[in-house]
Amino acid sequence: MGFSLLNGLVLGSIYAVSAMGLSLIAGLMRLVQFSHGEFFVLASYCFAFLLRSGIGLIPSLLLSLLVSFIAGVLTERLLLSRAESDHNRSMMMTFILSIVLSNAFLIFFGPYPVQSEARIDGSIEIFPGISMGSQRMVSGAIAMISFLMFYLWVRFTRMGRAIRAVAQDPEVALSFGINPVRTRTLAFGISTALAGLAGVVLSPIFPVVPDSGAQVTLTAISVMVIGGMGSIRGAAVAGLLLGLAESLGSHYLSTRYAPAFGFLFLILTLLFRPRGLYGNRV
């Protein structure tokens, strides 16, 4: 029970990080970004191969995040900005991009699972009788710290405020000197970097294959919808709840049903609170 709770929190904070990125874009660009998971996979591969090249843990982590950030910026600049805020077109673009990217991963990295070798051995006894693998603890801690930092960034910095202002009224924001185009590009990069961060912290735990992205995107979309589209806080809370539900569900029922809990949760939310927990807030 104690272990399941902790495990749920770890898993949940990783879900939260990934879904917050997706929700940021949903709020800002009114767009469901279907290639979110591919940026997760891209960063996982990057991290695994960079580690193997022997440049060390922290540089590998930072470089992988940078790669997913730049990939996001390029995607927004070269593809999405051309759709001229036609949401259906942009959505189709991200959908196609997800197929293209997962096939590119297959060509470049092959079909076999790749796991990063950032093994941190041993376990930590947190409460008497409850211990957890150090690996998971570290992953969970990184995820938790980053989602707190991201939340504070959106809430309290000038740039975060600019993003929220553009999300609500790009024209008025522009009249006050905020450049909506640049804001969108930056936010998109940050969103894919968050997907990348989730990919990096999960890569030592779950091996990645070229089409892992689809599941990641689906989970992130569920979390985002449960939390309320565009709500950063909602994504964080829903991520944690989903992590806990999956972990406790696997503990008491069966691990085989774990993915089903997410969708059950989603259906219940849509039935009883269609706008999500924190509907319509960025």
């Binding site: 405020r161 600019a162 929220r164 202002a165 009224d169 024209e171 008025v172 009249s175 006050f176 000197g177």
Partner: protein, 222 residues
């Protein structure tokens, strides 16, 4: 001193020519009303002046513009304070932000009492005050107020216009551009009026003169 000088300005909206080569200027200390029916090109003119749509020909020169948009358009999910901070984002003079905040809260104490409240939860009148305050935070030379009276109680409108009057007179080098469908109200609060029809200025004059013109009374103020 001219705050806004427009010469031969033409603007398209999509493929349609909406503003046909208009020229006018607004001097410091002036309050100028732009009136005219729906579709006269009032909104297009504003959007061009603040840089949302490009001009086709002609030119204009202006200082800093503060825009109070039609329908208020406050950032509903941001707090009152955050809305004002967005307004002040372009300020470069140190200490100016604090000074302007004092101005806004001095004129609109309702806002001071609600700094941490989300703007979307304010009443219509308070949102209008916030939209004006947000524009003031830019420390503008020209304040453009679009359809201020829409959907507000007459008493609130009176208060808000009084605040705008004070703002113009408070410091030299400020001017007010009032854009309204409600022509009588706009002219009552302005020194001078311009009447726009189908993208052209068809009449120009001081407010008392325009308000007492029998032809205009028939077509605009009845």
């Amino acid at each position: 001193m001219s705050i806004l000088r427009v010469s031969g300005l033409s603007v398209n909206r999509g493929l349609l020519k909406t503003i046909h080569s208009i020229s006018f200027s607004i001097e410091a200390g002036e309050r100028v009303a732009f009136v005219g029916p729906n579709g006269a090109g009032k909104s297009t003119l504003i959007e061009c002046l603040i840089g949302l749509i490009p001009r086709v020909s002609g030119s204009f020169e202006t200082g800093r513009i503060g825009w109070v948009p039609e329908g208020r358009r406050v950032f509903a999910d941001l707090t009152v304070r955050e809305n004002l901070d967005v307004g002040a984002d372009l300020l470069r003079v140190p200490g100016k932000r604090k000074q302007l905040l004092e101005l806004v809260f001095g004129v609109f104490p309702d806002l001071a009492a609600r700094v941490n409240q989300a703007a979307g939860t304010l009443s219509g009148g308070q949102q209008q005050m916030l939209a004006i305050g947000r524009a003031w935070m830019r420390d503008p030379e020209l304040l453009i107020v679009d359809e201020l009276s829409l959907g507000l109680a007459p008493l609130v409108v009176k208060d808000v216009f009084r605040a705008l009057d004070l703002w113009v007179r408070d410091e030299s080098g400020r001017a007010l551009m009032i854009v309204e469908q409600n022509a009588r109200m706009a002219l009552q609060h302005a020194d001078r009026g311009l009447i726009l029809e189908s993208g052209r200025i068809v009449r120009e004059g001081n407010s008392t003169e325009l308000l007492s013109d029998p032809d205009l009374v028939k077509s605009y103020f009845s």
